[in-house]
C-alpha cells in the first residue's frame, strides 16, 4: 500500500512546516517584536541588544522547548505502547515526583545558591533516576517485569514523593517554598548552554534508539503473548523502551521542571489523525511535542508580558482544552 507511505510523508512535511512556523513566531514575538527581515538582519550583524536577545534568550529557549517537548511526547508514546494503555504518561510512573523531591531537598539544603543552575537539575535527575530504579526493581519478579504491577507502583511512588515534597514545604521557609513551587510549575528559562545541548542530544538519540524497536512496538499492540508469537523478544523490548522513556523524562524534568500533559495530549491527538502505527507515530509525536512546547512557551512569555507565566500552567490548560475538543469530535471512543 504505497498510498499510506505517501500519506505519512505528507504528515511529516506538514509537521515540519508547522514547526518552522512556530519557531518563526517564537523568535519574532516577545517583549520586543521583530519582523522576519529584521531577524535576518540582526542575525547577520551579530551585534546589538537585539542579537543578544535572540542568541541568548529566544533561540536557546526554542531549542530547549523543542528538545523537551519531543522527549516528553516521545516517552509518552513509548510508555503508552509498552503498557498498551493510552492514558499512561511519563509522570504516571512517578518520575516527576522523584525529580521534584530531589529538587525540593536541594533547595532546602541550600544547594540552589552559588553554582545552583547546574546543581538543581542534577539533584532533580538523581531523584528521577532513583524513582525509576525503585519502580523498576519493585515490579521485577523472577527477573521479569510485571507491567500492570509496575504501573500501580509508579502511581504510588508518585503519591509518596509528592506527599514528601508537601511535607518539606510545610516545614521550610517561605522563600524556599516559593522556589520549590516555581520549579515545579516549570520554565524553559535557562541560560546554561550545556544543559540545552544535553537535552537536545539525548532526546534525538532516544528517538533513533526507539526506531530500532518500532516493529516490536507495533507487534505489542496485539498484546504481549501475541507479540511473542510473532517472534518479538518482549522482555528486552519492554525493558529497553521503559529505560529510554524514563531517561528522557528524567532529563527533561530535571532541566525544565514539571511540564505536564505533553506526553499524554500530543500522542493522543496524533493517534486520532494518523492512526496507531508507531512507525509514523514516534517521529510525529516527537515533532508534535516540540511544536506544542514552543507554542505554549510563546503564550507563557507574551500573555502577561513583561511578566512570565509558568509554562506548566499553559500546557495544562491549552492541552486539556484542545484534547477534550478533539476527543469529542473524533470517532474514537
Amino acid at each position: 500500500m504505497k498510498g499510506r507511505y505517501i500519506h505519512w510523508f505528507y504528515y511529516i512535511l506538514a509537521l515540519l512546516i508547522v514547526l518552522l512556523l512556530s519557531i518563526w513566531l517564537s523568535v519574532s514575538y516577545g517583549e520586543i517584536n521583530l519582523s522576519l527581515v529584521e531577524i535576518i538582519q540582526i542575525l547577520k550583524s551579530k551585534s546589538g541588544i537585539e542579537y543578544t536577545i535572540l542568541n541568548k534568550i529566544r533561540i536557546p529557549r526554542i531549542l530547549l522547548g523543542f528538545a523537551v517537548g519531543g522527549a516528553l511526547s516521545l516517552s509518552g508514546v513509548l510508555l503508552q505502547g509498552v503498557y498498551r494503555n493510552p492514558l499512561v504518561e511519563p509522570y504516571t510512573l512517578g518520575i516527576s515526583g522523584g525529580a521534584s523531591l530531589g529538587v525540593a531537598l536541594a533547595i532546602i539544603f541550600g544547594l540552589s545558591t552559588g553554582i545552583g543552575s547546574v546543581l538543581l537539575p542534577i539533584s532533580g535527575f538523581i531523584g528521577a533516576a532513583m524513582t525509576i530504579f525503585l519502580v523498576y526493581f519493585l515490579s521485577l519478579r523472577n527477573n521479569y517485569v510485571n507491567i500492570s504491577k509496575m504501573l500501580l507502583i509508579g502511581v504510588m511512588v508518585s503519591f509518596i514523593a509528592s506527599s514528601a515534597v508537601m511535607f518539606l514545604m510545610s516545614t521550610t521557609t517561605t522563600e524556599n517554598v516559593h522556589s520549590i513551587v516555581f520549579w515545579i510549575m516549570g520554565s524553559l528559562d535557562t541560560s546554561n548552554v550545556l544543559l540545552i545541548r544535553i537535552v537536545l542530544i539525548t532526546s534525538l538519540i532516544g528517538l533513533v534508539i526507539s526506531y530500532l524497536y518500532v516493529n516490536p512496538l507495533n507487534a505489542l499492540r496485539l498484546g504481549e503473548a501475541k507479540a511473542k508469537h510473532l517472534g518479538v523478544n518482549t522482555h528486552v523490548t519492554i525493558r529497553v523502551l521503559f529505560i529510554i522513556a524514563s531517561l528522557l523524562t528524567g532529563i527533561s524534568v530535571s532541566v525544565v521542571g514539571v511540564i505536564g500533559f505533553v506526553g499524554l495530549i500530543v500522542p493522543h491527538l496524533l493517534r486520532i489523525f494518523i492512526g496507531s502505527d508507531y512507525r509514523i507515530l514516534l517521529i510525529a509525536s516527537f515533532l508534535g511535542g516540540g511544536i506544542f512546547i514552543i507554542l505554549c512557551d510563546l503564550v507563557a512569555r507574551t500573555l502577561i508580558a513583561p511578566n512570565e507565566l509558568p509554562i506548566g500552567v499553559i500546557t495544562g490548560i491549552i492541552g486539556g482544552v484542545i484534547f477534550i475538543i478533539a476527543l469529542s469530535k473524533s470517532k474514537i471512543h
Binding site: K226, H229, G231
Partner: protein, 269 residues
Amino acid sequence: MLKISKLISGYSDKFRLKEISLHVNKGSLTGIVGPNGSGKTTLFRSLTSEINILGGEILLEGRDIKKLTSKEKAQKLAIVTQNTEVFDIPVEDFVLMGRLPYKKPFQLFEKVKDYALANKFMKLTGVYKYKAKLMTELSGGEQQLVAIARALCQEPELLLLDEPTSHLDISHQLKVLNLIQKLNNDLGLTVLIIIHDLNLASEYCDYMAMMHKGSIFKKGLPEEVLDYKNIEFVYDTVVITQINPLSKKPAIFLVSDKVLKKNSSEPRH
C-alpha cells in the same frame, strides 16, 4: 515434524503435564481434545514458550524448540488463538504483521514480496474484499479468518491453533475449519489444533489425542479415540456415539439427566 517427548511443564506443583509424548507427522491435521483443566492450554503454552519446560523436550523439525531464537521460531511456527486482539487497524496491515519475523532492525517498510504474500493469503482465506476495512468493523468469524491469513504470512511449517472456533456460530465454525482443512490438503501445511467440540474434531482431524489430568489418555484415529467409553471416563458424563452417515466418522450426542433417568433401561450403544 513436531516431536514431543516426555514433556513435563506447568505452573506449580498442583498442575503439571506428566511426561507427554506426541508425534505430529508432516502434513497431518492433528487434534487435541480433553475437558477443561486437562492440560490442553498448558501443552499449548509449552509449545509457544509461554511457560517453562521442566523436563523432556520438544523438537520442531529436529531442532530443540528451546534453542530456537524467537524469530526463528516465529518463522516455523504460527499461532492462531481463540480471540484475535482487535483495534483500529486496517485488515491489510494486520495481515502484514505476519511478516514481522522476517523484518530486520530499522527495516521500516514492507518489501514487495511481503505485499504479494499478504495479498495471496488474504485471497486464499477469502478476506481480500475487506482489505481496506478496519479489524473492528469485522465479525468475530471474519477476524478469525484474517488471523489465519496473518499466520500464513509467517510461512510456517506448523500451524498451531488454540480453539479457533469456540466463539463462533456453526456457519463460521465450518468456514474456519474448512479453510484449515483446505490449507492442510492443498498446501500440505501441518496443523495442530486444540479443539473443544468433539464432533468437529471427529469430522476434521485425521489424528487425535485426548488429554486427561495432565497426560494423554488416548491417541489415534478419531474412531479409536472417540469411543464412548473413553469419553465417558475422561469427561465423566454420559454420551451416545453413532456414526455420521455421510462422513463415516464418529458423532457424539449428549443426553440430559431427565431423559437419561426416563430411559435408564434402554441400551445406549
